[in-house]
């Protein structure tokens, strides 16, 4: 049974949890709007949850939430294809959440809905307190996104590209901000080179600089260290850890690099066929599956070949 113990909340009400309180491994938020999870999570539990005691802890309805992302009952259907199937999760400030899953698991669709690129079929998304269906531009100004699969204009120099996005995100003192990012991400020599002439690793660093131009409070990263050599990859990971620690930014990280996920993420959401099939801290997942690294856990889930010790079934690894 999943247990909830948010911290950093002023007052709580404690109730007993029943199996009926969960849908797809999630509390029935839609059905029970009073169940709101606030505050920073302990690293030993999934977003919005920790595994101590057999309780659901419910703050009052009007309690302030520090969750940067609040996803409830999110569903996306393309005709007969259910790309994302009724998922719910939270991402608190200052945490890095890993979104893992094989190809077609629904990660990209989920991220696209979080970015407002895609309208959900059902469910709700709140980012930084803004409803993404009605007020997405207020949220978009405070978040950013990086993916090696989305390019920057190749003929513009790195500096020009960063200026463009500085204007789009209404960044003050753009040139100072660019200089700072260039220094921190070691882009100084690249600033006046066309983006199209950079190596794959350099492009990834530039894309990261673009995603940080507005000092985002939420960063959505799709394979941020793809194409980077181990040295630069480590530099980027270190920089992300520092940025998160200094700013309290929340990061949602989609990656197939399990070592990276283990290092950066406090919580992991495992997706398969559009559903979140398991979740927890990396250590929780390792313990639960009796494995030594997340890659093995990933394969266990992807191939249905082992069971979670918590639930006894691989297909149903979260309470239902």
């Amino acid at each position: 049974m999943v247990i909830v113990t948010p911290i950093r909340i002023k007052s709580v009400v404690t109730i007993r949890a029943n199996p009926e309180d969960f849908v797809n491994g999630q509390p029935r938020f839609a059905q029970s709007p009073r169940i709101i999870h606030a505050g920073r999570q302990r690293s030993s539990g999934p977003p919005g949850f920790s595994s101590i005691g057999n309780r659901l802890t419910v703050p009052p309805m009007n309690a302030p939430s520090t969750n940067v992302i609040e996803v409830q009952g999110l569903t996306k259907r393309y005709g007969d294809v259910l790309a994302v199937d009724d998922i719910s999760f939270f991402a608190p400030a200052g945490e890095t959440i890993g979104l893992l899953g094989g190809n077609g698991a629904g990660k990209t669709t989920t991220i696209a809905m979080l970015l407002g690129l895609l309208l959900p079929t059902a469910g709700s998304i709140r980012v930084l307190g803004h409803d993404m269906r009605r007020d997405r531009f207020a949220a978009l100004a405070r978040m950013n996104f990086s993916s090696p699969y989305v390019s920057l204009p190749a003929r513009l120099t790195v500096r020009e590209n960063l200026r463009v996005y500085g204007h789009l995100y209404n960044v003050r003192h753009i040139d100072q901000r660019i200089a700072r990012l260039a220094e921190e991400l070691d882009l100084g020599e690249l600033l006046d080179r066309p983006a199209g002439q950079l190596s794959a690793g350099q492009k990834t660093r530039v894309a990261l600089a673009k995603s940080l131009i507005n000092r985002p409070e939420l960063l959505l990263l799709d394979e941020p260290t793809a194409s980077l050599d181990p040295d630069v990859g480590d530099l980027v990971r270190t920089w992300l850890e520092r940025y998160r620690a200094e700013t309290g930014c929340a990061i949602l990280l989609a990656s197939h690099n399990m070592a990276e996920v283990e290092r950066l993420c406090s919580h992991v959401l495992m997706m398969k066929r559009g559903r979140i099939v398991d979740r927890g801290s990396p250590q929780d997942l390792l313990d639960r599956y009796g494995r030594d690294d997340l890659e093995e856990v990933f394969l266990d889930i992807a191939r249905d070949r082992r069971t979670s010790r918590d639930t006894g079934t691989a297909r149903q690894t979260v309470p239902a």
């Binding site: 696209a112 978009l140 204007h167 789009l168």
Partner: protein
Amino acid sequence: MTGSARRIWGMMYRHLALYRRSWPRLLELAYWPVLGMCIWGFTASFLTGRLGAGAAVAVSALLGGVLLWEVCLRSQMGMAISFLEELWSRNLGHVFVSPLRPWELVAALIGMSFIRMMLGVTPAITLAWVFYAFNLFALGPVLVLFFMNLMIMGWWVALGVVSLILRHGAGAEPLAWSVLFGLAPFSAVFYPVSVLPASVRPIALALPSAHVFEGMRGILLDGVIQWHHLVWAFGLNAIWLGLATMLFAWQFHQARVRGALLSIGE
């Protein structure tokens, strides 16, 4: 600068930075208008030489038509191609997840369309004046109204093209170059609407361009400003622009439902 103005400027800066270091793109802006002016200018010279001074007024109408049609054509292409530049650079994913509102994107495209049109048409106007003794500005201040109507027509046609690209992806790209040529026969650029078959005239009269060219000929041939044609042109532009805006808004919404914004360039 307000947030909206900065975002619009940001998108325009992106294109201006591109043109600054891409001389083939800059050259291309003026290439076709100048080429067209050369061909029609020599044709006009030939006709004037053969038919005498009596043909001069008709030749003026011909050259005026060529130049004003370029205003419409370059406005439409300027806007549609500026959007396609984002598609080609696979940058739309970044643009659409920024705080840039769709209307701000459209405003930036209109700004770039105006700049591109001016850069393209100005050399052709100069060429007509220097080599063929045709001064477009002889039309008087009303020329500004003609320009405005033709630019607005170019914008709503381009908005329709952008909407179709949102709907059909890169497959709709060729429309950016071809769609306005399809409207040229109905626009009565070189001949009056009365020349067209009766069944086709309603189509022509539903286009603002036909009224602009009728108005232009009224000035060049009769020395009279036919204000009713201008009123019709503005009115029709308002209607078509409204319809194109609704189409764009609908297709943008549908693109978000279908996930087309994720794969629009593929």
